[in-house]
């Protein structure tokens, strides 16, 4: 039973239901139901109206900061796939299609975040004129060797998941912003799983799985930090509860790490992406 659906039903017999319930609710309802109904071009306007109604006035700066941070990372991810899809020797067929799906997905995240940031009266951060996709020479063959391209893609996606997770707490209780951020977070995880699956299937990393096993399982030593941090991916204790062998279950340490992804702080992420020219 969908609350929006309920409201729509009620609206048929009581046109003022939204105002009776709460003047903000109609704004919420419009926002969540517009997905397929409103053209992308109309989004900024619709969002702006929505946020204005929901907040009465300005959106707090700390929320805008999180959105800008997300946009900063999405700009880079989009360009990585955009350049990669043109330059890297990606096999024609399913692999090429997969990379294009991910590229387009990142592009939509960029446009979505730009729209949201604009709609709340802020100026979206610009993308960098130049990125260094070799990360200062660490990955010189990133766009000439397919295996390297996918390995770097995995590291970037896993890092992206950790980046969103790390700032969710700053959006605590923010229905619109947090739900959107969590929605992007889940999509980044889907990307990561797909890239990992591709590396396994095409033999680049035959034992790799769609989830993070043990820690840096990318086969890229330079990515240790991407799987490390103040709470590394190898962590097996959640909220003081040891997951390994929990309650007598046969849960190995590797399984315990796979079952929970870990966050990175903004400072940790920005340090990791700095060699790519991201800031």
């Amino acid at each position: 039973m969908n609350f929006v659906n309920i409201l729509e039903e009620i609206e048929k017999v009581d046109g003022d239901v939204y105002e009776r319930l709460s003047p903000r609710r109609k704004a919420m309802k419009n926002f969540f139901s517009m997905g397929s109904k409103v053209a992308i071009a109309a989004l900024p306007l619709a969002l702006g109206s929505m946020f204005k109604k929901a907040y009465g006035q300005a959106v707090p700066q700390n929320i805008i900061d999180v959105l800008q941070y997300a946009l900063t990372l999405e700009h880079f991810e989009y360009r990585f796939y955009e350049r990669g899809s043109m330059l890297a020797p990606i096999p024609v067929g399913a692999d090429n299609a997969a990379i294009q799906i991910i590229r387009d997905s990142e592009g939509k995240h960029v446009n979505f975040l730009k729209s949201v940031i604009s709609s709340v009266g802020a100026t979206p951060v610009a993308e960098k004129v130049v990125y260094d996709f070799t990360a200062g020479g660490t990955f010189p063959t990133v766009f000439t060797d397919y295996a390297t391209f996918l390995a770097v893609a995995q590291v970037l996606e896993d890092t992206g998941v950790r980046a969103y997770k790390g700032r969710a707490g700053e959006l605590l209780g923010q229905k619109v912003f947090l739900t959107a951020a969590l929605g992007i977070h889940a999509v980044e995880a889907r990307h990561a799983a797909k890239i990992r699956s591709m590396r396994r299937m095409n033999g680049h990393a035959p034992l790799l799985k769609s989830y993070i096993t043990g820690g840096n399982d990318s086969g890229v030593p330079a990515a240790n930090g991407n799987y490390g941090g103040s709470t590394p991916e190898g962590n097996v204790v959640q909220a003081g509860i040891t997951i390994t062998g929990i309650n007598g279950q046969t849960i190995s340490a590797n399984t315990a790490t796979e079952a929970f992804d870990e966050a990175l702080t903004a400072a940790e992420v920005l340090a990791l992406v700095a060699p790519f020219g991201v800031s």
């Binding site: 969908n2 017999v13 997969a98 387009d104 739900t179 969590l182 889940a186 909220a239 079952a259």
Partner: protein
Amino acid sequence: MNNLTKQEVQELPEESKGFLASRVQRRSFLKYAGMSAVGIALVAAGCKKDKQIEGVYLGSGDIGILNYAYALEQLEAAFYIQVVTSFYSGASDDEKIFLTDIRDHEIAHREFFKNALGGSAIPSLEVDFSTIDFTSRASVLGTAMAFEDLGVTAYDGAGYLFKSADYLLLAGKIVSVEARHAALIRELLSTNTFLGAEVDSNSVNISRSPAEVLSAAGKYIKTKINAGDLPTA
């Protein structure tokens, strides 16, 4: 219902469309609704009363949300335990590896919530998998996909209800793993469906409210669940 996939909606028999529907029949609900604000207040009161009547009570506030997650993890774990106990015929080595891994992840999640909730934890739920053909690859993987996709929308849709940033972070640690599962299972079924219809036009994963999720999961859970006091804002 525009957030639900058509397939899932169709799968749901009318009588299982939710714990709310079972209390307040649709027609009478709309009749109440016609009474506008007063009617809504009555319906809301009617929902609250449910907890005193029957069902496993999830609780309120963050505890309620954690129990809600615990309920879903119980369901997922029970499903994969049965899958792994006797694999469908023709399961590939990779499929066996992945399904076994996912079973263990879901057990880890289930036991984590159980311990984290301590005395506030709901009891073990009784599941009903009578509609699943565990000998059929299509049935097992199709159900796995539905559970994983539903789980992602559940965590995403409940995130804003948490009052504690610590609990939100824990949910975040789990939901990305569920999303990885979802993508993995989807790829087993059909290449390049890792996003599929689970994302909106902005490539943001869709989300669902607890009421929507419990409605969709209802046909697999025999135990009556009372979610009447879960936070809604």
